[in-house]
């Protein structure tokens, strides 16, 4: 039964969830410190294109992943400077980051369009565990990044809720003035978390080429995943473990069209492709409404620049 279509679809959904979860973790860190970054899509694309180049020129998977992540972090630094130091609108700056990132990635990526990537993440089985019914293929026969992502979700949850540094982050996101008077460097915390967010978004983009489709095309690589990650943070009420669950759900909705087509269900492919996007809208309308936002845990200072003199 481990070869049945539904088990294979579930296993593929886990893989599809990885980049969404990574990008959403990054956005979560940034938003928890009070900075909304709508540049996720741009950072992912830059991460993907740089990881591709690094992967093909060095052949080292982890190095390629790291290069992609650093590229994402570099781009997020632009956002940090514009919004934290220069107090530009976080929305406008984030949008521009996506536009710039998309433009730069398509320009740089032009030369590698259609070139195959020679190295990629492969699943490795956990011995006999992989033969367990259903959970075997879904959980114990995946590539290493799947486990990294799950561990990361747990670590981020622990960091935010059980460490001093995490407490500082939450304080900065909820009430920067209070944090400031407690001696926490608001700007420093925000810089660190915006850049950490960019690092993870870059890694998410890198995984798209290193773990999913080993080739580069601007249309096909992210196709709005970065935006889905932004929505997912709202859906997950800014909690990392819920991001994991939500990412799996979105991963599943992306795999659903292959599954249903395999079963000969006669729904046009285009309509199935719309599913993740429609799901995002529904989820946002339900979870992201104004009245619910505060109750579900949106950081109170999200989107607001902090200026000490104007307190």
């Amino acid at each position: 039964m481990n070869n049945s279509a539904i088990v294979l679809t579930l296993a593929a959904s886990v893989v599809a969830a990885v980049p969404i979860a990574l990008a959403a973790f990054g956005e979560l860190l940034s938003e928890r410190s009070g900075v909304l970054n709508l540049g996720v899509e741009g950072m992912m694309l830059i991460g993907a294109v740089c990881a591709f180049q690094a992967g093909n020129s060095t052949g080292n998977l982890w190095l390629a992943l790291f290069v992609g992540a650093v590229a994402g972090a570099a781009l997020s630094l632009v956002h940090a400077v514009l919004t934290i130091t220069m107090r530009a609108s976080q929305i406008v700056s984030g949008l521009s980051l996506t536009i710039f990132g998309t433009g730069l990635a398509t320009f740089v990526g032009k030369s590698i369009e259609g070139v195959p990537l020679e190295t990629d993440f492969r699943p490795s089985a956990w011995g006999p565990l992989a033969d367990l019914p259903v959970v075997g293929p879904v959980l114990f026969d995946q590539d290493p990044m799947v486990y990294v992502t799950i561990v990361l979700g747990v670590l981020i949850g622990w960091y935010l809720n059980h460490t001093r540094a995490g407490l500082a982050v939450r304080a900065v996101g909820e009430s920067p003035a209070t944090a400031d008077s407690m001696g926490i460097g608001v700007a420093r915390v925000r810089y660190l978390h915006v850049v950490a967010g960019g690092f993870l978004a870059g890694a998410a983009g890198a995984y798209l080429v290193l773990g999913q489709v080993p080739s580069w095309s601007q249309d096909g690589t992210t196709s709005g995943l970065g935006w889905i990650a932004v929505a997912l943070v709202v859906f997950a009420s800014w909690k990392p473990l819920r991001v994991l669950v939500g990412a799996f759900l979105f991963g599943f909705s992306r795999q659903l069209n292959f599954y249903l087509q395999g079963r000969g269900v006669d729904v046009p492919a285009e309509f199935l492709s719309m599913m993740p996007y429609l799901l995002t809208i529904i989820v946002l309308v339900v979870w992201g409404s104004r009245d619910l936002r505060r109750r579900v845990g949106a950081p109170a200072a999200l989107g607001l620049p902090y200026v000490r003199d104007e307190r």
Binding site: M86, V92, L95, F107, K110
Partner: protein, 364 residues
């Protein structure tokens, strides 16, 4: 000693003129770095770029042809953004407009006299864009759902819908004679916007400039425009003044959607002449955001910036067909993104000035 940002008490007129210029120059410098990394000669590329778009009659008219839809998508972004409503889905509204507009061009245009046929295509495409914007506007106004994400998600839905109509089904929009390479059915000639003689630009340009003027009049001189300004600058003040913020938000987002849809109509009636997923997928909707931001949401500024970015885009295509270098078209996308980022950075210096504060004197 440290550097401090301070609010400027007065802004000089030249501050707002010099910002976009400085942003363009800075972006060209950054662009040069990336061009060099990719092995191109930046100065030669820029020279060719300028020559291709702005030095011959054909070049200029081609640039204007690309600028035409950009004016409307720029207005679409502009009317919403200036109220802090971030409709970034003009791209999707453009597709929706193109779908309804091309339907009108095929079904209605043959039965209507000349100008009415064109008007039907344009007006119905605006209606299409407006309808596509309804979920975004309603969710934003009544549930507070982020319009940024809904508008973008609807863009992908519109894209797949359009692909379905042409590639996925034998729909009304598909040309039945194109079986191997599905194409959109041509609209009736009566619904086409005439071109200026042998050039690629035409009456569409006149239409969009008129639309820019209308938008300017609405924003500047009507009570609806006044309400939008009040809600945009302070929703709280608007509530005290008895203005329904929900109604005004809905109105602005629907107007924005209608303009996005009109861009689709202008494309169908003026250039593509059919619902054409390949010809339309050019990102005009997204570039509209850049246009609006650089023009600081001013309708006439939008026309000027659209011409400039239209030239940049047109040159991208010309560069690729240039013998020898083969610079990717995407160079124009990269440049326009960089210009936008620098413009945002520069904006800070229009509103603030830098002051160097000696640590010993004062820190607070």
């Amino acid at each position: 000693m440290r550097v401090k940002l301070e609010h400027r008490l007065e802004q000089r007129w030249w501050h707002s003129a010099i910002t976009p210029l400085a942003a363009v120059i800075a972006a060209l410098v950054v662009g040069a770095v990336f061009l060099r990394i990719q092995g191109f000669e930046p100065l030669a590329v820029y020279r060719a770029l300028f020559r291709a778009s702005f030095t011959s009659v054909y070049g200029i008219t081609d640039s204007l042809a690309i600028a035409t839809p950009l004016v409307v998508t720029g207005l679409a972004a502009g009317v919403a953004f200036r109220m802090n409503l971030f409709n970034i889905g003009a791209e999707g509204q453009l597709y929706a407009g193109a779908i309804i507009g091309s339907w009108a061009g095929i079904a209605l245009a043959p039965h209507l006299p000349g100008p009415l046929a064109i008007a039907a295509v344009l007006i119905l495409s605006a209606v299409g864009g407006m309808l596509w914007a309804v979920p975004m506007a309603v969710f934003k106004a009544y549930f507070g759902t982020s319009e940024i994400i809904t508008s973008l998600m609807l863009t992908f839905v519109a894209l797949f819908l359009m692909r379905y109509l042409i590639f996925g089904s034998a729909s009304f929009w598909r040309d039945p004679s194109s079986t191997n390479f599905p194409q959109g059915k041509k609209i009736d000639a009566a619904g086409e916007l005439p071109l200026f003689g042998e050039y690629r630009t035409g009456w569409g340009l006149v239409v969009v400039v008129l639309v820019a003027i209308v938008v300017w009049v609405i924003v500047r001189f009507t009570s609806a425009g006044y309400d939008m300004n009040v809600v945009g600058s302070s929703p709280k003040a608007a509530r005290y003044a008895g203005i329904s913020t929900k109604r005004v938000m809905m109105m602005a987002l629907l107007l924005s959607g209608a303009l996005g849809g009109l861009a689709g109509g202008v494309e169908v009636a003026g250039r593509a002449h059919a619902l054409d997923p390949n010809g339309l997928e050019l990102g005009f909707g997204f570039t509209g955001i850049v246009v609006a931001a650089l023009a600081r949401y001013n309708p006439f500024g939008i026309v000027l910036v659209a011409v400039f970015l239209g030239g940049l885009r047109n040159a991208g295509a010309a560069l690729q067909s240039m013998a020898g270098e083969r610079v990717p078209v995407e160079v124009s996308l990269m440049l326009q993104g960089a210009i936008l980022l620098f413009a945002i950075g520069a904006e800070i210096f229009v509103r603030n000035r830098l002051r160097i504060v000696r640590a010993a004197v004062a820190t607070r």
